[in-house]
């Protein structure tokens, strides 16, 4: 495969960022938006082409004779050399998951570019302030995210990991005059930065023992005769593990060092993918424009953590303790987020918690994946869910954006009964809800079903737990759906137009994504993506009993939601009053934010920073000043000796001379 297209895939968005960032303010809003969208469209075509080539061309560097998919390093270029072996290279790495991610990212990104052309202007067609900047940042984000997924080494991943963090910061804080947006962006950046600290240390440990940053050398074995081609190999991962166990200190604080490294890297994933307890930034990140939430905080960036774990999956298989930790964290997060999502009022918050919950599904799925069970079904399920979730969650967010754009508020209390006013939005939103709830034949059903199957292979506790969460998902999504589109007749406030459907730039992405959500489930995903490249028949692992149970749970939850929320009735408030404590805790998100506030403000700020600053000013600086003060005092004290009284001087001289004389005489005696 030639280098031009991969280079262009990375270069075009970077160029668009610089171009729009430097010159955007000089051009009209429409031109900037069009240019950005066209640029993204180009990348979309190129990425589709690349992915198509990878999956279907059958070239020897992509697939071997046994039909196993290979990893292909298209190019890499030394960027920074630390030591002989530890070299950061910037390159382009094609394998099933990166090809799949190329498709996901460019699709969603293009849809969001298109959608924003309509969304980022008001009802009179006036573009928002900073529209060009918005497109520049979107390009930056696309560049970073693409760079992240095609990274051939973990350090490139880290570099672009930081860059997506920064572009997320810029986009969350897009409405920078709003204090809440500013603090949300700050929070997002700092929380993920904290997680990245773990990631960084994990990289350092892993690369010190393993002696390389390259994924190909960490998890795969090179394929003979083809330069840059490698195949996932447990043997290599075992070799890496051996490097750890053969070292002088294989165990640190009761766990193997490899486990530590993997858990630390997972800490970075927890930050980026908003796993508990580092999830607190994601709900606040909804302060950003809704298309941004759809792109970054639902479909692409937040799944980077899942992607990274999948990338290092052979290594994680070496230390199942780390996988167990992932499972537990994921399961707790999924449940927690689902609980919180059931009571939120802000529709974007509901979607945010639903995102957290769904990403946790993917994490759990990776955590329970084992080659022994259905040939690592969990891995494939996780990637599949990542794909379908990206589509339907982007759809839901864009739908929510359309609602917010029409109504001007984030709360469902201002909406209700919109189904007649905004039919396109209504139907696409409904498809999204059905997909996420896991109703056959929408895409979510298939991916979620596979996740539940692989959970069953791991333990029945995990299966039951995740099924419960799946049911809750269906419930809160339909609660949201009914509260927005049904509940009661819409009351347009005085002096407002009746809400209506959006321009085509916004509708088109909705319709497209809805269509994808309807059919994506039938993609033979197992043929394309599996943990070791070995394709397998997707239907062979399809467990009808699991599917039936999950379908029943989903339908039951939907029915419950219908009963409670279809028409205005006192049932919801009754339930709330029945369990007031639970409701309050859920509504306040179990007070995680308050806990963090306490830790950062009261402990770190007040008990560490302030005392340290005081210490610096008064003790350290005080000591330095004290030197000066003491010198001054002493010289003040001895200054009178230089009285200017010549007779005193003579006295001093005389006494000294006499003393000297006497001493001399006494010595001579």
């Amino acid at each position: 495969m030639e280098m031009t297209i991969p280079v262009l895939i990375l270069a075009i968005p970077l160029f668009m960022f610089l171009f729009l960032g430097l010159l955007g303010m000089k051009m009209s809003h429409k031109l900037a938006g069009t240019l950005g969208t066209l640029g993204m469209g180009t990348i979309l075509v190129l990425s589709y082409y690349t992915a198509f080539q990878y999956f279907f061309s059958g070239a020897p560097e992509f697939i071997n004779a046994a039909g196993e998919r290979l990893q292909y390093l298209v190019f890499d270029q030394t960027w920074l050399q630390f030591t002989e072996k530890l070299v950061i290279k910037v390159g382009f790495f094609l394998d099933p998951i990166s090809a799949m991610m190329l498709v996901v990212i460019t699709t969603i990104s293009f849809m969001v570019h298109l959608y924003s052309m309509g969304y980022m202007r008001d009802h009179h067609g006036v573009y928002e302030h900073g529209f060009q900047r918005f497109y520049a940042f979107l390009s930056l984000f696309s560049f970073s995210m693409l760079g992240l997924v095609v990274a051939p080494n973990i350090f490139q991943t880290y570099i672009f990991w930081e860059l997506v963090g920064a572009s997320s910061y810029l986009l969350i804080g897009f409405y920078y005059t709003k204090p809440s947006a500013v603090s949300a962006s700050k929070k997002a950046f700092i929380v993920t930065r904290f997680a990245d600290l773990g990631f960084l240390i994990g990289i350092l440990v892993l690369s010190y023992y393993g002696g390389t940053f390259n994924f190909a050398e960490l998890t795969s074995a090179p394929v003979e005769g083809l330069a840059g081609v490698s195949q996932v190999s447990l043997g290599t991962a075992e070799g890496i593990k051996a490097m750890f166990t053969n070292s002088a200190a294989p165990v640190f604080m009761g766990a193997s060092v490899l486990t530590w490294a993997l858990v630390l890297i997972f800490m970075g994933c927890m930050g980026k993918s908003a796993m508990m307890p580092l999830h607190i930034w994601l709900p606040d990140a909804m302060e950003g424009p809704t298309p941004v939430s759809a792109l970054i905080h639902a479909a692409t960036m937040v799944v980077a953590g899942v992607y990274l774990v999948a990338r290092l999956f052979p290594l994680y298989l070496m230390e199942t303790a780390a996988l167990d930790i992932i499972t537990v964290v994921g399961a707790l997060t999924a449940f927690y987020a689902a609980m919180v999502a059931c009571v939120q009022v802000d529709i974007k918050r509901v979607l945010a918690f639903s995102t957290i919950s769904q990403i946790a599904f993917m994490m759990v799925s990776l955590g329970v994946a084992r080659p022994e069970f259905h040939e690592g079904l969990g891995y494939m399920a996780s990637m599949f869910h990542l794909f379908t979730h990206a589509m339907f969650k982007a759809l839901l967010f864009l739908g929510a954006g359309a609602l917010i754009h029409a109504i001007g508020s984030n709360d469902y209390t201002a909406m209700h009964g919109l189904r007649k006013y905004m039919p396109i939005t209504h139907w696409t939103f409904l498809i999204g809800c059905l997909a996420i709830a896991g109703i056959i034949p929408f895409s979510g059903f298939f991916s979620k079903d596979e996740i539940l199957s692989s959970c069953l292979g791991y333990s029945w506790v995990a299966y039951l737990w995740m099924s419960l969460v799946a049911g809750m998902t269906a419930f809160y999504m339909f609660r949201l759906y009914y509260l927005i589109f049904w509940w009661k007749e819409h009351e347009t406030p005085e002096g407002h137009h009746a809400p209506h459907d959006q321009p085509w730039t916004m509708s088109l992405p909705l319709i497209f994504l809805a269509a994808v959500s309807c059919v994506a489930g039938f993609i033979p995903f197992g043929e394309l993506v599996s943990w070791n490249g070995h394709p397998y028949d997707f239907m062979a692992h399809f467990d009808w009993s699991v599917a039936a149970v999950s379908l029943c749970v989903a339908v039951a939850a939907i029915v419950l939601a219908t009963v409670m929320y279809r028409k205005e009735n006192p049932l919801p408030s009754k339930m709330r009053n029945a369990l007031p404590a639970l409701w309050t805790w859920c509504y306040h998100r179990f007070y995680w934010d308050e806990l963090y506030m306490f830790i950062t403000h009261s402990i770190i700020f007040r008990s560490v920073c302030r005392p340290l600053a005081w210490f610096d000013r008064h003790i350290i600086d005080g000591t330095m000043d004290a030197f000066a003060t003491v010198t001054n005092k002493v010289s003040e004290a001895i200054k009178p000796l230089q009285s200017g009284q010549i007779q005193m001087y003579v006295w001093y001289y005389l006494i000294g001379a006499l003393a000297l004389g006497v001493v001399t005489i006494l010595c001579l005696l």
């Binding site: 005389l654 006499l658 004389g661 005489i665």
Partner: protein, 171 residues
Amino acid sequence: MESVGSIILYFIVALSMIVFSVMAVTTRKILRAATYLLFTLFGTAVVYFMLDYEFLGAVQIAVYAGGIVVLFVFAILLTSRPGDNTERLTSKSRMLGGVAAVITLIVACYSLVSRCALAFAQKPEMETPDMQQIGATLMGTGAGQYLLPFEAVSVLLLACIIGGVVVARKR
């Protein structure tokens, strides 16, 4: 062995020098102090004569007695107001000064007498240096001759004249 006359002369001179110098520093009248200083200086000149340095004795009388003391007297007259020329010394400071002076004397005397054999040297014979010799030494530039210090002193004196005029000039 000295002649009796010179011994008697020595004692007179020594005694007067001691007495007048003590009086010069103890008297309360400043003009008197200057007068006693004059006597002391005369005594010193006599000592020079006794030691056969006649030129030096002459210089001593001419410069010190004739110049400096006159300067003192002028200064005293210029700076003293009537009734102002007495100063009261506190007994404490007088005592302290006396003690210091006496200790100095004792220490120096002790070391001079007990430690310094040279102090008991006999007076050797010496020709009185004649004026020609002195003049040549003062004006010569060879080893042991003093043209450079002489010129330096002349410059100093010139500077002193100018300095005196500048400092004392009425602004």
